[in-house]
């Protein structure tokens, strides 16, 4: 690859042994773990040679959990404590789930507990949040990877549906933390698939990834060119997947067999048979459904492919509508798409294959195992991010799936970052006060495309206090949204009139608060308090070691950017941290890390600057000179850590008329 040479020859970091990294596809129905072994991405099997890790968790009265096939065996016998498809509850409240149930006409066998933000489930081992349940799956994935690789993982890439909103992403990150995993990146599932596919096939041009999983649907449109995967648009439905097809068959069975209300055990039993029938129909024209119920009744039906296609027709149509929308957003026509990559076990259904072929006017690509391709892509990306470069490099540019904004007067949404904006993204907008002497402003952060706040997902609320007394419309409150490379949002607000400053930074807390996570870490799996402390110390030591290694690598590469005394200060800070790592004082380690970070701030800035200069060096010298000669005036932008976008602020009259926030 000539385009993206990262370090000059002879300048690369000192060779080090390959560090262990894995990709985890945390799926609704099944999860997978993959890693890159001697240049090849491979899915890791369990001891029985099975690649899948069913995303099923069963809690036992002693507080322990079974995960995977072992738990799956208990689906019908112990439905209340055996949680399937927990991914559907991530970042979701009781009301969302109840709405979903009503929509799908299903009844879940769990006892939900309403809690602020996310719903919890009552099990025989206590009340569990979807984050904790997902963490059990991740722990099993981690154990599998570490057993295969024979050591501790330096970090992982975890995939999430591209259409996951901020709350769902945050919940996934929290689950990883609870499982003791260092997450290099949350990667969108279709993007992961595109990496696996694109690198394998040296693909170039516009590709669509149609990803129908167990509980989520994503469509991403990507531009693949040598070494770059650029997502142009993404869309989907985070509550549409293979589960819904099961549900349709389930309802059909109830109707055809005229069954009375069922116990949750019987319902689960039928559901298991229904799933088998669905899979059978991918290869056959008809499937038998035979179930002996606990009531003594026997169900004996045959479902043919045509009936199956008919009862699921509008599910498929929903995916096609999302496809159209994504193409519209990317400003492309179906015929401009060079290939459609099929991802997710649900794309095996013949009616789905036919519909996609019809929508794009071409046969979809099925040369990769739709169950494995996401995990393989995640493993390849994890290997890149951990620093085990194989000589080839690529760049991945992704987008956010849903617009981010805040509530303004009258319950209207003001979009700050539109959907399909490339991430990382930072954008700021100015607002003003509505009343004379208004001292506080309440800021309500939402995600979604609808005009009314009530129709969007609420992510966070916070208050900016201490606004100095002014007449209405005089205050200048700058709200900055920042989305990182994982697609996670943080928001801050600042009052900027002369000399006065009030500032607050929030992370949406729809998932779990840091305190809650800390408490769970402490409580988790019969670990004593001492154990949690030991673990926290270990985490700090690992983190500190990472920081030292990163700093030393930077020094090796760019020591000439520093003056002698700067080098001395950094080296002193490293030496101090190195000594403290050997001890057991976590607080001291954390403080010394802060010191080292502080001492290297300027160094980091110079290195970044050098990188940018290098990126542009040697290109079009004449234009460069021309640009410099007629350099335009600098935009009047407030300096700030987030380098706000500098979008023009609405004029004063406009601001007071339509954009003020409500007071508290």
């Amino acid at each position: 690859m000539t385009l993206f040479q990262i370090s000059e020859p002879g300048e690369s970091a000192a060779p080090h042994e390959a560090r262990l990294a894995a990709g985890i596809d945390l799926g609704t129905t099944n999860s997978l773990v993959a890693t890159v072994k001697s240049g090849m991405a491979t899915v890791l099997n369990d001891e029985q040679g099975r690649p899948l890790l069913p995303s099923i968790v069963r809690y036992l009265p002693d507080g322990t959990a079974q995960v995977g096939y072992e738990a799956g065996d208990w689906q019908a016998k112990d439905p209340r404590n055996t949680i399937v498809s927990v991914k559907r509850f991530m970042g979701r409240g009781v009301r969302d789930i109840a709405y979903g149930e009503a929509l799908h006409g299903e009844m879940l066998p769990y006892e939900f507990v309403d809690a602020p933000g996310m719903a919890r489930l009552r099990t025989c081992a206590g009340v569990k949040s979807p984050v904790e349940i997902s963490a059990e799956i991740l722990k099993a994935a981690r154990a599998r990877a570490e057993a295969h690789l024979g050591g501790e993982l330096a970090g992982v890439v975890i995939t999430v549906p591209a259409y996951f909103d901020d709350a769902q992403r945050q919940a996934t990150r929290d689950a990883a933390r609870l499982a003791g995993l260092n997450v290099f990146r949350l990667l969108n599932e279709p993007t992961a698939a595109a990496i696996a596919y694109g690198l394998d096939n040296a693909a170039e041009g516009i590709y669509a990834v149609y990803d129908l999983g167990g509980g989520t649907f994503d469509i991403s449109i990507l531009k693949l060119s040598r070494g770059v995967f650029e997502v142009l648009a993404t869309g989907g439905d985070s509550a549409l997947g293979g589960d819904d097809f099961d549900q349709r068959i389930f309802c059909w069975v109830l109707e055809e067999a005229r069954l009375p209300p069922l116990s949750s055990e019987d319902a689960r039993l039928i559901m298991v048979r229904v799933r088998e029938a669905k899979e059978f129909l991918s290869r056959h024209d008809k499937a038998p459904i035979t179930v002996k119920l606990s009531s003594g009744l026997t169900v004996d039906l045959t479902l043919d492919a045509r009936t199956f296609a008919t009862i699921t027709e509008n599910l498929v149509a929903r995916t096609l509508r999302a496809v159209k929308k994504a193409l519209r957003d990317a400003k492309l026509l179906p015929e401009e798409v060079k290939g459609v990559v099929m991802v997710g076990g649900s794309t095996r259904m013949p009616q789905v294959q036919r519909a996609v072929a019809g929508a794009f006017g071409r046969q979809p690509l099925n040369n990769l195992d739709p169950d494995k391709v996401v995990a393989l892509g995640a493993a390849i990306q994890a290997n890149l991010l951990v620093g085990n470069r194989t000589g080839e490099d690529w760049l991945l540019l992704d987008v956010i799936p849903l617009s981010l904004g805040l509530e303004t007067m009258g319950g209207l949404t003001e979009k700050i970052i539109p959907r399909n904006a490339a991430i990382p993204a930072a954008r700021a907008q100015e607002f003003t006060t509505f009343r004379d002497g208004q001292a506080a402003m309440s800021i309500h952060v939402v995600q979604g495309e609808r005009e009314m706040v009530a129709d969007c997902r609420s992510l966070a609320r916070f208050e900016l206090k201490g606004i100095p007394p002014m007449v209405a419309g005089a205050a200048r409150i700058r709200v900055t949204f920042q989305v990182d490379a994982d697609g996670l949002l943080s928001v801050r607000a600042r009052e900027e009139t002369a000399g006065v400053e009030a500032e607050v930074t929030v992370k949406p807390s729809y998932g779990l608060s840091d305190d809650e996570i800390a408490a769970m870490l402490k409580d988790s799996a019969a670990h004593a308090r001492e154990d949690a402390q030991r673990r926290a110390l270990k985490e700090a030591q690992v983190e500190a070691q990472r920081l030292i290694e990163a700093t030393e690598a930077a020094l090796r590469e760019d020591v000439r950017l520093l003056a002698a005394e700067e080098i001395a200060r950094i080296e002193t800070a490293i030496a101090r941290l190195q000594t403290l790592i050997l001890g057991d004082n976590r607080r001291e380690i954390t403080l010394a890390m802060d010191d080292l970070a502080y001492e290297t701030q300027e160094f980091a800035r110079r290195r970044m600057d050098q990188g940018i200069q290098r990126a542009l060096a040697g290109k079009r010298v004449e234009e460069l000179a021309r640009g410099a000669a007629s350099a335009p005036p600098m935009p009047a932008e407030p300096s700030g850590a987030f380098a706000p976008s500098g979008l023009p602020a609405p004029s004063a009259s406009e601001a007071s008329a339509s954009r003020p926030e409500k007071t508290t």
Binding site: A485, M608, A615, E623, P635, A643
Partner: protein, 185 residues
Amino acid sequence: MDLTCDFFTLFRLAPRFRLDVAALAARYLELQNSVHPDRFAQAGQAERRLSMQWAARVNEAYRTLKEPLARAQYLLRLAGRDPEAASGALAEDTDFLMQQMEWREEVRQARQERSMAALRELRQRLAREVQAQYEALAARFDDEHDLAAAVGQTRRLMFQEKLRAEIDDALAFLEDAEDAENAGA
């Protein structure tokens, strides 16, 4: 180079309205390749933070320079003229306003009649007009250096792009409604 430098300087492009879109895209990739957080996954916190800020900045710059209307507004803002603040500038331009009202009426009617054909025809007509406006705007900026005229022209384009977005929304709405009907049938 620091985080507050203007977008043209960041992309090493002359601050003009007409620009080489291919060069812009190539620079974008070069810049992202050197600042993107994936390049700093194992770096210290300070570098990771800087990388995110730079990558966000580069994305914002690319978005602004790529879209002609955003680019025009940005050029004007660099020159200390804010087309959004120049309210009333169009008040005298009654011909344009009359024409806009006619357009709007046509869109409203087409939407009411659920006529996708009419909307598509309107969209095409508008696209031609907008194209001509952009060419005129390029002349104001790059040939005549007439910023006052560029402000007026940009404001017109803001109206027209908004209208274009409305037509797109109406079309999308009708397409979705049609699909939903077909699926339900």
